[in-house]
Symmetry: C2
Subunit: 222 residues, 2 copies
């Protein structure tokens, strides 16, 4: 049995939650107050970050990509990182796109300012960052649209970690009600397909104390 | 034959250069002025970032981690990402440590302010960012020291991508003369070992026009 140390609106944790669920690997969630920098948690991951995946036998994995690559090897089916080296390169390119680029251009600006800022009571959110996040999310919706005009799923003809990673990031922004789906039909169709998967259901019932999700967050018809 | 689109002080490009050299894969360097956002380059990598590795047959790989994982599969020896799933998880954890944490806490602050800022003539560097970079690099030297007290190389008993990635990041800061090696004996011993490898030699003769390296940058006795 695995325990996943996590935070609700961390896209990296959501990526691992979706990946484990698609692999049908059982795990328990454990909310980690990363800002407390607990000594026991730092012993598991000196970076002090979630996600961390811990096995009942004591094995510990840190960093979302290290975790999913490990699980892909231990539980090969269904293959989610790609069937050959070229496919894996495309999946990993897109994972990096969302984990780095989307994260810096959108997630840090919106989740960072609206949620982390509020939880840690760091003062009023920076409205310039929020404006930048709103502007940037459109480019990423367009990129998803561009890919969906050419492919069945983001990285090719099957659902992969690229879709799960992208959906993990979009879902955090969607919790805030900040994804303009109406203006991006292809991206919306793609997200609706992911949203209806059983692996996604637990994320849709996430509810951060004191911060209700946007009204369409859990709707299949959004 | 491969072509690597790169920038001189990009730690992600240096990571790929070291990796290819350790694998004895031949490649040509091609300097890409990323800030020009050339249409031909964006067609290779819509993220507009280096490194990009292009094969003479037209195959294109983008993102440093996607590139090295691909090459590890195509050229398995010497193994640089680890011999089993647990070792690979530790290597990838440390790669993420340097590519994300070191990059955000040190590289962005120092290379970002001192080099990118200057090349793009964006005005005076932010002295607060530079101070933060100087402070943070010490923590990372300590972490290298912590690992070196327990292991032969960063991830275990063999040289891996973890060492190459860490060295790629430190070398960019070292070019600026901003690594306080004297105060960190174990980290210095580790870096001296990497620095003396044939794979490292090309990096030591890098010379950015108008911006000479710090005096000890290429010295084996630093
Ligand atoms: N490279 C890591 C990044 C994880 C990360 O940035 N986690 C954030 C939450 S989204 C965190 O735990 N931050 C706490 C801190 O930095 O103190 C991964 O992919 O797992
Ligand atoms: N995830 C990428 C990051 C690469 C990256 O950040 N490249 C920077 C140089 S260090 C770049 O090309 N920036 C140009 C830009 O963003 O316009 C990787 O690991 O390859």
């Amino acid at each position: 049995m695995w325990t996943l140390y996590h935070q609700w609106l961390s896209p990296f944790c959501r990526k691992v939650r979706l990946f484990l669920a698609e692999k049908k690997v059982d795990f328990e969630l454990r909310l980690e107050p990363v800002w407390d920098r607990r000594a026991e948690f730092l012993a598991l991951n000196p970076a002090g970050e979630v996600p961390v995946l811990e096995n009942i036998d004591g094995a510990t994995l840190a960093d979302s990509q290290a975790i999913v690559e490990f699980i892909e090897e231990e539980v090969p089916e269904p293959s989610l990182i790609g069937r050959d080296a070229a496919e894996r390169a495309e999946v990993r390119r897109l994972v990096a796109w969302f984990d780095r680029k989307f994260n810096a251009e959108v997630t840090d600006n919106l989740v960072g300012e609206k949620v982390v800022n509020r939880l840690l009571r760091m003062g009023t959110p920076d409205s310039r960052a929020i404006r930048a996040g709103h502007l940037n999310v459109r480019h990423h919706l367009e990129y998803v649209g561009f890919l969906m005009e050419r492919r069945t799923w983001l990285a090719g003809d099957r659902l992969t970690l690229a879709d799960l990673t992208a959906a993990a990031h979009f879902s955090c922004i969607d919790y805030l009600g900040d994804v303009p789906w109406e203006a991006h039909e292809e991206a919306k169709t793609w997200y609706a397909r992911i949203k209806s998967r059983p692996s996604f259901r637990p994320l849709l019932s996430d509810h951060i104390p004191g911060m209700a999700p946007a009204s369409n967050y859990a709707d299949m018809d959004f």
